[in-house]
Amino acid sequence: MSENMHPNNARPVPFRGGGFRPVAKRGAAIIVFTTLILLAEWGTRTGWITNLTLPRPSDVATTLIDLWRSGLLWTHLSVSLSRLVVGGTIGITAGIGVGMMIGLFSYVRAGLIPVVAALFPIPKIALLPLFVIWFGIDEASKYALIALGTFTPTIVSTYGAVDNVDRTLVRMGQSFGLSWWSIVRKIVLPGALPGILSGLRVSVAIGIILLVAAEMLGAEYGIGAYILQAGSLYDLERLFAGVLILSVLGITTSWIIGLLEKRLLNWRG
C-alpha cells in the first residue's frame, strides 16, 4: 500500500529493540509445580522411582491431612513459630542495633566487623553440644541458636544499609542544625530501612533453616523435631510433609516481608 505513495526505495525502518526485560508470567509456576508433582506421582506409582528414593506425593498429602486432622500440625507449628518469633526477634533486634552502631561509629566498626566476619562461617550445628551447656536444653537454647543464626546476617545487611544512606541527606540535616540524634532517627534510620528489610528476608530464611538444628536439642514438638524424627525413622512421607511445611513457612514469611515493604516503603513508589 505504501509502495504506491512513495518511491520504490522507501521501506520501513527495521525494528531491533525489545527483549531483555523478562516479565513474570502468572500461572507458569503452577504449571511447573503441577508437572513436577504429577511426574513424581506417576514415577512412584509405576515403580520407576523406588519408594526408597521419593515418597508418593499423594501419600505426602494424606500424611499432611492426617497431621492436620489430628491437631498435631498446630502443636508442631505453634511451638516452632514461637521459637522462630522469639529467637528471630532477639537476633534481628540485636543485629539491627549492632549494625547501626557499626554504621555510625568508627571504633565499633573497626572492632566488630572482623568479629562478625569470623562468626559468619561458623556452622551453628557444630556448636550444639556447647549450646546445651550454655543455654540448657529447654527453650533458651533454641532461642539462642536461632538468635545467633539471624544475628550476624542482620548485622551485615544493616551496616550495609546504613553505609548506603545518601550522605547528602545527612549533610542537609547537619546544615539545618539538626541534632545528632534527630539525624539518626529521622534520616539514617528511615534511609536504611529498605536495606534492612531486604536483609530481613535472608535472616528469616536462615532462621527457618535453623529451626531443624534448634529442635535437635530436646524438642518433643516442632516442625524441626517432626522432620528429625521422620528422618531417623526413615519415614519419607513425614519427612517430605515436614519439609513442605517449612517451605510454605518460608514463602509466607517472605510474602509478609513483601507486604511490610509495600506499607513502610510506599514512598519508593
Binding site: 526408597l52 553440644p129 546445651v132 536444653i137 536439642l217 530436646g218 531417623s232 525413622l233 526413615y234
Partner: protein, 310 residues
C-alpha cells in the same frame, strides 16, 4: 582376590568382631575382600545398607532400621551384642544434681527426665522399659548426639541415661555422673545389636552372607574369649586390646584406650544367634509407641534362615 564387600562400622568396641575377623584374616579365609566404611552414627549406616553403599553392618534395632525393612530394603540376619546377667553390661546413670536430689536408684525415676538421641533409638527403648518396670513416668529428651547428652547430663539438665559400660565408667570415674543401676537387671538377655544386610543380599547371595557370618562369628569367639570370658589368658587379652586399638580411640595412647576397651567388652553372641524374644519385645514396643506401622511383624525384619534363633 575374593568377593569385594563393604562392611559398615562405627569406631566402637561393640564392633570388634568385624575388626578381629579382618585383622586375623578370617574374612580372607572365606574369600571375602572386606573394606570398612566408617560412620559417625548408626542411622546413616542403616540407610547406607539400603542404598547398597554397604553390604553388612552391625547396629541396634532402631525405628529407622525397621522402617527400611518394611520398605523391603534391609534384613536382620543375626545377633551381636547382648546383655547377659553376670557380665558387666550397660549402666543406668544419674546426673550428680539428680543423684543428690534423691535419684540414687532406678526406683526413684518417677517424674525424672531421661536422655535419648532420637525417638525410637535404643536409649528410648531402654528408658521406656526400665521406667515401666518401676512404674515410673519419665519424660524423654531427644538430644541427637551422644556428646550433647553427656553435656546435658554433666550440667544436670537431664536426670538419667543408660549407656555402654566403658563410657559410663569413664564418666562416673571422673565424678561427673553417678551409676545407679544395670540395664541387665531390667532387660535380661536384651539383644542390643544385630547383624543386618540388604534384603537383596539376604535373599540372593546366600553363600556370601553365610561366609560373612562365619568369619564374623570367629571374630566374636576370639573377642569373647579374650575380653568377656577372659579364658584366653592375659597375653591374649592384651593382644586383643592392641588389635582393637587400631580402630577404636586410635588417637589416644594405648594405656588410656586400653582401659576403655576393656571396660566396654560385652558379650557378642556365639554364631550370631539372635534372641527372638528380645527382638519381638522391641518390635512390640515400637508399635506401642506408634513409631512403626502396626502391620510390621518380626518376619518383616528378620530373615531367620541364617542363624540360630534363641
Amino acid at each position: 582376590a575374593g568377593t569385594k564387600l563393604n562392611v559398615g562400622a562405627l569406631r566402637f568396641t561393640s564392633h570388634a568382631a568385624s575388626f578381629v575377623a579382618f585383622e586375623r584374616g578370617y574374612f580372607d579365609a572365606e574369600g571375602l575382600d572386606v573394606e570398612f566404611k566408617f560412620f559417625q552414627a548408626a542411622q546413616p549406616m542403616a540407610v547406607a545398607i539400603a542404598s547398597g553403599d554397604a553390604d553388612y553392618a552391625v547396629t541396634a534395632i532402631s525405628g529407622g532400621l525397621v522402617s527400611l525393612a518394611e520398605k523391603g530394603a534391609a534384613k536382620v540376619i543375626g545377633g551381636a551384642l547382648s546383655e547377659e546377667p553376670g557380665i558387666d553390661g550397660q549402666k543406668i546413670l544419674a546426673s550428680n544434681a539428680a543423684y543428690e536430689a534423691g535419684l540414687t536408684s532406678a526406683k526413684m525415676l518417677d517424674g525424672r527426665s531421661w536422655a535419648i538421641s532420637q525417638a525410637g533409638s535404643s536409649f528410648h527403648y531402654m528408658g521406656s522399659k526400665i521406667s515401666a518396670a518401676e512404674g515410673a513416668t519419665v519424660s524423654f529428651k531427644p538430644l541427637q548426639k551422644v556428646g550433647a547428652i553427656i553435656g546435658a547430663l554433666k550440667s544436670g539438665q537431664v536426670d538419667a541415661w543408660s549407656i555402654v559400660p566403658h563410657i559410663a565408667k569413664a564418666l562416673a570415674g571422673g565424678g561427673a555422673v553417678k551409676i545407679i543401676g544395670n540395664v541387665a537387671d531390667y532387660l535380661p538377655n536384651y539383644q542390643v545389636t544385630t547383624v543386618f544386610t540388604s534384603a537383596d543380599n539376604a535373599a540372593n547371595k546366600r553363600g556370601q552372607t553365610e561366609a560373612f557370618l562365619r568369619a564374623f562369628s570367629k571374630g566374636a569367639d576370639d573377642f569373647n574369649a579374650a575380653l568377656v570370658d577372659k579364658t584366653a589368658g592375659d597375653e591374649a587379652a592384651a593382644e586383643m586390646v592392641k588389635l582393637i586399638h587400631k580402630y577404636v580411640y586410635a588417637d589416644k595412647p594405648l594405656e588410656k584406650a586400653g582401659k576403655s576397651i576393656r571396660n566396654g567388652a560385652m558379650r557378642i553372641n556365639k554364631n550370631a544367634s539372635l534372641n527372638m524374644a528380645s527382638v519381638t519385645d522391641q518390635i512390640d514396643w515400637f508399635k506401642s509407641e506408634k513409631l512403626i506401622k502396626d502391620s510390621i511383624t518380626v518376619d518383616t525384619l528378620v530373615d531367620p534362615s541364617y542363624s540360630e534363633m534363641m
